[in-house]
Amino acid sequence: MIQHFPILSIMVLFLGAFLVVLVGRSRIARTAVVSAAVLTSFALMVALIKPVMIDGQIISYWMGNWAPVSGYAIGIGIEVDALSLFFGLLVSLAVMLSGFYSFKYITQDDSPDLFFTLYLMLAGGVMGIVLSGDLFNIFVMLEVMTFAAVALTAFRSWNPNAREAAFKYLVVGSLGSTFVLLGTALVYGQCHTLNLAQISGLLSVNGINPTMTFAFALLFTGFGVKAFMTPFHPIAADAHAAAPSSVSVLISGVFTKTGVYGIIRVSYFLFKSMGMSSMQTGLVFIGCVSMFVCVTMALNQHDFKRLLAFHSISQIGYILTSLGLCSAIGIAGGLYHAINHTLFKGLLFLTAGAVLYATGTTKLEKLGGLARRMPQTAALFMVGAFSISGIPPFNGFVSKWMIYQAAYEKAAETGSIGYAFVTVIAVVTSVLTLASFVKVGQSVFFGELPVELENVKETPLSMRIPMWIMAALCLLTGVLPGLMQQYIINPAVRATLDYKGYIDAMMGEGYAAAHLADTVPLAEAKYTFAGAWDPAFWLVLFVIVLLGVTVAMMIGKSGRGAATAIADDKHDTFFGGEKNTFSQVGGGDLFWGFKYNFRRYLNVMGNAHSGVVNDYVTWGVIDLALIIVYCFIFM
């Protein structure tokens, strides 16, 4: 029975999407259909944890029972190993929470039925990518996903930026799809199959010839576009900022993950190029550039969501970096960060959505002091901000720690000091991330409340519940890394490094052994995990200390505290004896010392993000050319 679960969890989303078209005019029917679809999809994924993650089963499924004939895969396969399931879980979780959030959030827009159709199409496309075992199917789903995402970006057509963002996104995104399709075609020309498992086997037998090197570069870049790695990141910023927030959650937390998934599949599994130190260096370089460039861009933004968008790519840079390290702890860190990124970035986008819902703007300069009107949203924002900045005990800390350790261990292992700088860049990026969230906190939630926002109300409960769930998950994944590693991360890492089971499950027992010979450079990587830490332990400690201190202090100050009820000069903000005027410090006013020293760099970067779509295409093509040249030289 369980072998039907993956296809059902994809199809139930598509079914829901089309049903919404039929019945979606009525709010109750729409809500019921969408909830049923996302819940079923998530439940089916969760039901697979036991067999796939824990028992190590690999589900192979041939559509229409077209099993391979004499060693040739002729059908379209669905295959779910731990890695696929890992991403499947991630996707369905984010889709579910964001979907629940949307019910209320989207009521401000017209035609919510169309929104949910596209929303479920996007979700189904992503699920299709991560669960599919067929290269061309991945491409088709990639296109479904891209269309849905572009359309959703343009959904708020009252937003003046939406159409522009959608157009740029479509142009550059279709560039990426082009690369993927061309790579797929070349791979097909070489292997005469589209099945991932068989391609992997055949490529090991045939070796990597120049055509395949070319195909690798194309596929890698194509999935890189979907992950918005650096030269492609401006469109991501545009799209995230213009899309409705619940869609931004999907674009940043889910859409980009398909790119990461594709890169893992292509470079670890199909071409096995990650065994080469040159490819590792390349991916780490791309990751480092992504995380640093995007975080400095984020510091300079004046729009809440655009800032978050740049951070999103910055975190993807972390994931790519740690995947490029190609050690077990590196991959574990990367995958862990993928989960965390989905959770905390989802949470942050949802809080941004809440702010937009309540105030109608996300411009940092126009906001301020919202913590008094929306205390829960502010608290949720702080959870998200601490998570993304890696403040213990939240989840970002755990994965970042693993990434630092992986990078520095790599440095010791290879004896190259370059990887030490990877650690340094990662830490500095983390601090800059913190800085920009301090900026958001100061500009949006603290400081003085502008007069026009006096009547702002807290967001409705149905929007807060998904946010609280996400915040709870941020904390849980941060304090229970042991459980996470045991049941979720380690199986996925093992699946990434040891893919013989995947090939055998798909192509029949013995296929991998016959084709892979015995040289699988990756499978020999060590399974050493940073086991010597236990954040749960010191979270408890932290709580004890906090409680103790608070109780002690509360006892000390009992009998006072009601003083604020009395209107009194002493409760005014201190202004040096002058009359209190509205003077919010926020937005572009912050971090002058940093900006001053980096002014040339920031100017160059600001000009580079020119907003002209031709430029973006040019960079994309140049990037592709560079990657092709790099691959031809070093692969």
Binding site: F136, V140, E143, F147, V150, A151, A154, S157, P160, N161, R163, E164, A165, A166, F167, K168, L170, V171, S174, L175, S177, T178, L181, L182, T184, A185, Y188, G189, H192, L194, A237, D238, A241, A242, N300, G606, H609, S610, G611, V612, V613, N614, V617, T618, V621
Partner: protein, 116 residues
């Protein structure tokens, strides 16, 4: 014979990329995307071609020994790719219309409210 196809396809791709990189009219950019699609389709179809093969449709009575046919999979891929290309174009043109309504121009160097 296939070489001509491949050269043509690469030329189409190169033209498409050139158009997308240099032409400022966004309609032309969409055309560039279309040209790239054609190049891709040409490559895919060419990959599946077998010299002297028949169409991959036959019934048992028509089957003779020594007969072979061109690879049907790339043709299916091409069909899918054409459909997707058509959708991309339709959507891009829709957005072009909307952009023109908003900005009053089709010049991509003026459609840059989102930058920095």
């Amino acid at each position: 014979m296939m070489l001509v196809n491949y050269i043509g396809a690469v030329l189409l791709l190169a033209t498409g990329f050139y158009v997308m990189m240099t032409k400022e009219n966004i309609i032309k950019i969409v055309i560039g995307m279309g040209i790239i699609d054609y190049g891709l389709n040409l490559i895919i179809v060419s990959i599946g071609f077998n010299e002297g093969g028949t169409a991959p449709i036959f019934t048992m009575s028509e089957l003779k020994p020594g007969m072979y046919f061109v690879d049907p999979v790339p043709q299916a891929l091409t069909l899918t790719s054409i459909v997707i290309g058509a959708c991309v174009t339709a959507m891009a043109l829709t957005l072009c219309i909307k952009l023109y309504e908003e900005y009053g121009t089709l010049n991509s160097s003026h459609i840059r409210r989102l930058r920095g």
